[in-house]
């Protein structure tokens, strides 16, 4: 019978290494895809996954006091990803141009969803957005990823990142605003 996460964590803290192995098996893909979204390449994502579980193993005595293992693990993974980003790429460069195109462009794009070119346009837009996402500062990037890609709520993100919910809202708002601006500008350039 498949054990629940809290039960696996409890057994792990009591010395059951089989429980730890089960936890790794359950979370490895999720952490990998999150790290890949953050860092954009396989090697870095691989490093994040390995290092995250090694840190969880080394911090097993702290797990006794942890109420949400998922948040705990994701926090470790995101913090390490942010550290890697800062070491390898520095702070992200975001276009300072605050000009925005008329909203008619996006409305037109929305109408075009029904046309035969809609799938291709969606694909192009998605690539543009993810390229813009990689340019965001680490905290804004991880907030947007956790919220809009992974589906975590703002309160969950606040718990993961150990910051106030107001900070999460602020980072998310700024990230979305920048993404929309960059997206509009690139679409304008293509026209």
């Amino acid at each position: 019978m498949r054990s629940e996460i809290p039960e696996l964590v409890k057994r792990f803290t009591e010395g059951d290494m089989q429980a730890f192995s089960e936890l790794v098996a359950r979370y490895r893909k999720r952490i990998y895809y999150l790290a890949y979204q953050m860092l954009g390449n396989h090697l870095d994502a691989d490093e994040v996954v390995q290092e995250s579980f090694v840190r969880v193993f080394n911090k097993r005595t702290e797990l006794v006091h942890v109420t949400n293992f998922t948040s705990f693990l994701i926090r470790i993974a995101t913090n390490y990803s942010i550290d890697l980003l800062r070491k390898q790429r520095g702070h992200a460069q975001v276009a300072e141009d605050s000009e925005s195109l008329p909203g008619e462009v996006q409305i037109e794009l929305a109408r075009q969803v029904q046309t035969p070119d809609a799938d291709y346009l969606n694909k192009v837009l998605r690539e543009e957005i993810y390229r813009a996402l990689t340019q965001l500062p680490p905290r804004q990037k991880i907030t947007a990823l956790l919220h809009d890609v992974e589906g975590y709520s703002k309160s969950e993100i606040a718990h993961i990142l150990e910051c106030p919910e107001a900070t999460v809202r602020s980072n998310l708002h700024i990230a979305r605003k920048k993404l929309k601006q960059i997206l509009k500008k690139r679409l304008d350039t293509k026209e």
Partner: protein
């Protein structure tokens, strides 16, 4: 509600985080204000595209990779930590303990043997010292060093009986065999005669 105020609530509406009353009020505003409506549609489109990217933007490395990743993680954690011994089965544990005791015993034997070798080598090297050859020739096996006998017999102030002298001499024989400890000093602590 004005459009400017609505801008800050649009994202909450897109995220379904507004109360029913607030959501209804905002939707009414959007229906009347085209700029606000466009902003809402843009926010919704962005969220939709980001969510799509979660499933289609990341390449799948395959199950073999994840299995190998798991093996690496276990090698770096469980298999390299002393904590891992707690998970060993009882039968395997007794076998491991026996092997550990056997190993300790063998190491102890080797250590004692090495110490004996060093001791014997030191004795042998000392016994081959030419400066002691003459004294050794004078001294039969088991006999005290002449210098010790001389000191014991010559020191009348010690007021020793013959039994005492014999005991002292026998003791120095144990303490200072020719070629090793007797090499450096005699019974009185003076340097051994060359």
């Amino acid at each position: 509600m004005t459009c400017r105020h609505a801008q800050s609530l649009i994202e909450d509406l897109v995220d379904n985080e507004l109360s029913e009353a607030k959501a209804a009020e905002l939707r009414a505003l959007l229906a009347e204000d085209p700029d606000c409506l466009r902003e809402y549609q843009l926010s919704g489109r962005l969220k939709h595209l980001l969510a799509q990217g979660a499933t289609s933007g990341t390449p799948d490395p395959g199950d073999e990779y994840f299995d190998e990743l798991q093996r690496l993680i276990m090698a770096r954690t469980v298999e390299s930590a002393p904590f891992a011994r707690q998970a060993v089965a009882p039968a395997d544990r007794s076998r491991a303990e026996r092997a550990s005791v056997r190993g300790s015993f063998i190491r102890s034997i080797i250590t004692v043997a090495a110490s004996l070798c060093v001791f014997v080598t030191a004795v042998f090297l000392g016994s081959t010292d030419p400066s002691r050859t003459a004294e050794r020739e004078q001294t039969a096996a088991g006999s005290p060093s002449p210098s010790i006998v001389h000191v014991v017999n010559a020191d009348a102030a010690l007021d020793l009986t013959s039994g005492d002298r014999d005991r002292i001499v026998a003791g120095t024989m144990l303490l200072g065999p020719p070629g090793l400890m007797g090499r450096f000093t005699d019974i009185a602590g003076r340097p051994a005669p060359r």
